[in-house]
C-alpha cells in the first residue's frame, strides 16, 4: 500500500525500491533469458530481456508479493515473446530460412525447428515441462489455465516433437 502510494505521489522513487528491483533482476535474469530464448529461439533476445524488465519495473508497484516473482516475470516475458513472434512472422525472419535451408542440421537447430513447428501455447507448455521441469499443475498455475488444458497441449506438442525427431532420425526407440 505504502509502495503504491509512493509510486503515485512520489516525485522520485526511493532508491531502495530500485535496489530491490535490481536484486530481482540479478536473481532472475538468467531464467528470463532462457525462457525468452526457448520461446522465440532467436539469438536476438537482448532487447526482449530489457523489455521484460522495463515492463516489470513499470508494474512493480502492482506486483503482489504473494505470487511468485518467477511466475510474474514469466508472464511478462511470455507477453514480450508473443509480441516478438507476431512481429517476426510479419517480417518473415531470415534466420528461420537459414535454419530450414541447412541440410546438415545440428541438434540445436533440430530442436529449434521442432519447437517452431508448435504454436506458442503448445511450445510454452512443452518448454515449461521438459526444459524447466515444472509439473502440469504448476504450469496450469503459471499460465492460469486448467490442468486438463495443459495436459492436452502437452500431449499434442509431445506427439508433434516426437514425430519430427523420428522423421529426422533422432533417438528412435
Amino acid at each position: 500500500m505504502l509502495k503504491k502510494l509512493t509510486s503515485y505521489f512520489y516525485l522520485s522513487p526511493t532508491e531502495d525500491v530500485l535496489d530491490e528491483f535490481e536484486q530481482i533482476y540479478r536473481e532472475h535474469r538468467e531464467y528470463v533469458r532462457h525462457v525468452l530464448y526457448w520461446l522465440v529461439r532467436s539469438e536476438l533476445i537482448d532487447e526482449l530481456v530489457q523489455e521484460t524488465f522495463i515492463k516489470a519495473w513499470k508494474n512493480y508497484g502492482d506486483f503482489k508479493k504473494e505470487s511468485h516473482v518467477k511466475t510474474w516475470l514469466y508472464r511478462i516475458a511470455r507477453n514480450c515473446a508473443l509480441d516478438f513472434i507476431k512481429k517476426e512472422s510479419r517480417h518473415n525472419n531470415e534466420n528461420r530460412e537459414e535454419i530450414s535451408d541447412n541440410a546438415d542440421l545440428e541438434m540445436k537447430d533440430l530442436i529449434s525447428k521442432a519447437l517452431m513447428a508448435l504454436n506458442l501455447e503448445q511450445r510454452e507448455v512443452f518448454i515449461l515441462y521438459y526444459k524447466f521441469g515444472h509439473t502440469t499443475k504448476e504450469i496450469s498455475e503459471i499460465l492460469k489455465v486448467k490442468e486438463g488444458t495443459v495436459k492436452s497441449r502437452l500431449s499434442y506438442s509431445r506427439d508433434k516433437v516426437k514425430n519430427f525427431f523420428s522423421e529426422n532420425g533422432v533417438l528412435d526407440g
Binding site: 516525485l11 522520485s12 522513487p13 530500485l18 535490481e22 533482476y25 540479478r26 535474469r29 538468467e30 533469458r33 532462457h34 530464448y37 526457448w38 539469438e43 533476445i45 537482448d46 530481456v49 530489457q50 524488465f53 522495463i54 519495473w57 513499470k58 541438434m107 540445436k108 530442436i111 518448454i127 521438459y130 526444459k131 509431445r158 516433437v161 516426437k162 525427431f165 523420428s166 533422432v170 533417438l171 528412435d172 526407440g173
Partner: protein
Amino acid sequence: MDDKKIKELIQSDRSAPEAPLNEWAQINAKISVKRTSKTSFKYFAGAFACCLILFALNTEFFFSSGDQELNEAVAEYVLEDLYFDNEDLYAWVD
C-alpha cells in the same frame, strides 16, 4: 522415444545467448528516462491542476463580486430619490 528421452534431449541443449555485460546499466538508463518523464508529467499535471483550481476560484470570485455590485446598484437606484421623482410616469398604476 519416451518422455525421459525427450527430457534428456531437451535438457542437453544448453544454448542461450550470453547476456551483455552492461545489461543492467542499459535497463537502468531506460528506467531512469521513464522515471524522469513520469516525474515531469506529474509536475506538469500538478501545476495544471493548481492553475485550474485558481482559475475556477477566480472566476467564481469575479462573477459573485459582479453580481453583488449589480445588486447594490439596483438597490441604490430603487431607494434613491430619482426613482420617486419619476413616479408620475406610472400614474396609471393606481
